[in-house]
């Protein structure tokens, strides 16, 4: 019983010409989903919701913002002071970026833990990594727009990385800048790109979902679904679960937006950009800190840039670096330990990235960087070969039945 079979005349008129209702039935209402998804599977839809929040608040902010080196900072203050609800839009957008990254990172680690990147979901995984890359570019260009001290100096530090590229580096950087330093042309094009990329994201998200709906969601047990009773329709089961998740996420977002709006920001971004005054301590937003640590861990500039790029690009080949036939870490006693170790390593990298590159931070940063790559390139293949996985259940329904008999099923 779906929308497409409705007897409503309008529905039938439309359906005959463009079968949107059949599409909705197929992709959103009846869409068969594993019945055992846990709350970590909420993050995908939450990320989609955050993308929408960012687009809606962003388009509204763009109506009041001026991408000019002399006017940008003042136009942001105009939004904060004179535009109706402007302060709320801007704080939602600024903290929304962090919320977006938070759910996407949890989503990514969920995939790592449950082996969601393995066959037949490699292209789905690629699209996810591509989304992360475009998100990073979007966040970076957006951070530059208020044209405060950190905006300006972050733009200077990051665009200067392109000078490390042999032969063409200098020319490429001048071309990127549209001049001989970070100035008006760069701000203007960053605004243009920052407005463009979210819509590119929407496109990649569509392909991500297309790939997802081809083979359906992975699940906490990581076994393929063979029996029809192991699947449930997306609506109402996962629509209500996602709405609950959305409420919780918006609660956290509201907590920051209304009560700690500048907690995640840098105070010096409330000082207008000054090309003559370098801040003592240039740091990126929290979601870039681990990559910033990797960049600085390599003593050579070009080497650092390559390491930083590889830190994400390595994810593309992860499906082949992981040699285990078993998806879920639940049945992989060794990998499970190393998963948490890897997560701790990412936290350490973030901590190092937040601190000046001096003293013991240099050594810790280098060790953590080496471990980051060793995890993917050395440990993942080796664990897959040597680990003896625990026996897999036949069906995902089994643990659910066990719970009915009094056991704690899905732990």
């Amino acid at each position: 019983m779906g929308l497409a079979h409705s007897q409503n005349k309008v529905v039938r008129w439309i359906e005959y010409r463009l079968p949107v209702f059949a599409f909705l039935d197929h992709q959103l209402i009846d869409y068969p989903t594993p019945r055992n998804l846990n709350y970590w599977w909420n993050m995908g839809s939450l990320a989609g919701i955050m993308l929408m929040v960012q687009i809606v608040t962003g388009i509204t902010l763009a109506m009041h913002y001026t991408p000019h080196a002399d006017l940008a900072f003042g136009s942001v203050e105009h939004i904060m002071r004179d535009v109706n609800w402007g302060w709320m839009l801007r704080y939602l957008h600024a903290n929304g970026g962090s919320m977006f990254f938070a759910v996407v990172y949890i989503h990514l680690f969920r995939g790592l833990y449950y082996g969601s990147y393995k066959a037949p979901r490699e292209i789905l995984w690629w699209m996810g990594v591509l989304i992360l890359l475009v998100m990073m570019a979007t966040a970076f260009t957006g951070y530059v727009l208020p044209w405060g001290q950190m905006s300006f100096w972050a733009a200077t530090v990051i665009t200067n990385l392109f000078t490390a590229i042999p032969w063409i580096g200098e020319d490429l950087t001048i071309w990127l800048w549209g001049g001989y330093s970070v100035d008006q042309p760069l701000l203007n094009r960053f605004f243009s790109l920052h407005y463009l990329m979210p819509f590119v994201l929407v496109g990649i998200v569509f392909v991500h979902l297309w790939a997802l709906h081809t083979h359906g969601s992975n699940n906490p047990l990581g076994v393929d679904i063979k029996r029809p009773q192991d699947k449930i329709p997306f609506h109402p089961y996962y629509t209500v679960k996602d709405l609950f998740g959305m409420g919780v996420m918006f609660f956290i977002l509201a907590l920051f937006t209304f009560f700690l709006p500048n907690y995640l920001g840098e105070v010096i971004n409330y000082i207008p950009a000054n090309p003559l005054q370098t801040p003592p301590h240039i740091v990126p937003e929290w979601y870039f800190l681990p990559f910033y640590a990797i960049l600085r861990a390599v003593p050579d500039k070009l080497g650092g840039v390559i390491a930083m790029a590889l830190a994400i690009l390595v994810l593309f080949v992860l499906p082949w670096l992981d040699t285990s036939k078993v998806r879920s870490a639940k049945f992989r006693p060794i990998y499970k330990q190393f998963f948490w170790l890897f997560m701790a390593d990412c936290v350490v990298l973030g901590w190092v990235g937040a601190n000046p590159a001096e003293g013991h931070f240099i050594l810790i940063g280098r060790l953590a960087t080496i471990y980051y790559f060793a995890h993917f390139i050395i440990l993942m293949p080796l664990i897959g070969w040597f680990e003896k996985p625990r026996p897999l259940p036949e069906h995902i329904g089994e643990p659910v039945l066990k719970r009915g008999a009094g056991g704690e099923g899905s732990s």
Binding site: R35, N38, W40, G74, E77, M80, R81, W87, M88, Y91, Y113, P220, I232, P236, Y237, V240, K241, L243, F244, G247, V248, F250, F251, A254, L255, T257, F258, F259, P261, N262, V267, I268, Y270, I271, H281, W340, M343, A344, V347, V348, G350, W351, A354, N355, P356, V400, R403, G404, E408, S410, S411
Partner: protein, 259 residues
């Protein structure tokens, strides 16, 4: 599932501790521990005391405004701190702003109107530096948001001047010793003395009182939306809590059918 949650929480807690330790380390290089002042407008329900904001405005306009601009303050904004429109008109009339060009093509001065922005004490950065021993007095519109722990920092700075620097400290020409300022010497001479302003509401103008009042005023101009933000935020949180609870209940009910 439960196991995963507890593991996850443990990792998050460790991360939190590490980050907290990191920021503590990072700020370890500061010159002086800030005064931990009790701010009347802090907290989820905190609002600005209008009388205090008006006293703060008096300190700013009589003491600070001689050197510090406040680019984003328009006279009309002063109605938000409890002045009537007539009072704002009177306040604005005390200031001259440049207007023009007139029909002859000349710029001219006229007294300010509520729609005008607060005039800057110096025509440009060079003039400001020339009059201030080479230092540039920062614009104060956003100063509370532009400094780490802006409230405590501003208050500590204003009350933290010391007449005599430590004997091994070399104080620059025309500089004052203030351990709260980066480098411990500051081009701004001590701005506040007992009763340097005479409060219109009769409050005794001690240095501490003036420092607190002007700091709260600076917080208001940095975050004029604060009161609205908190009151809207509270309603939003209550709504989202109810929304989440409702959908959790529905979720439990719907999923019951499955087992």
């Amino acid at each position: 599932m439960k196991r995963l949650m507890t593991d996850g929480l443990a990792v998050l807690a460790t991360a939190g501790l590490l980050l907290w330790g990191g920021s503590a380390l990072a700020s370890g290089g500061k010159t002086h521990e800030l005064e931990d002042h009790d701010w009347p407008h802090a907290g989820v329900f905190g609002t600005f005391d209008r009388a205090q904001l008006q006293r703060g405005w008096q300190v700013y306009s009589e003491v600070c405004a001689g050197c510090h601009a406040m680019e984003y303050l328009a006279f009309r904004n002063l109605t938000a701190i409890g002045f009537s429109e007539d009072e704002v008109m009177e306040i604005a009339a005390d200031y001259d702003v440049e207007d023009g060009p007139d029909e002859f093509g000349d710029m001219f001065d006229r007294s300010a109107r509520p729609s005008d922005y607060f005039p800057s004490p110096f025509p440009n950065e060079q003039a400001a530096r020339y009059s201030n021993n080479g230092a540039l007095p920062p614009d104060l519109s956003l100063i509370i948001k532009a400094r780490e722990h802006g409230l405590d920092y501003t208050y500590s700075l204003l009350t933290g001047y010391e007449d005599e620097p430590p004997h091994d400290f070399e104080l620059g020409d025309g500089m004052s010793y203030n351990p709260y300022f980066a480098g411990s010497q500051i081009a701004m001479p001590p701005p506040l003395f007992e009763e340097v302003v005479e409060y219109e509401d009769g409050t005794y103008a001690s240095v501490d009182q003036m420092a607190e009042d002007v700091t709260v005023f600076l917080n208001w101009i940095a975050e004029p939306e604060m009161e609205m933000r908190k009151s809207v935020g509270l309603k939003v949180l209550i709504f989202l809590f109810a929304f989440s609870a409702l959908f959790f209940a529905i979720k439990v009910k719907v999923w019951k059918k499955l087992h």
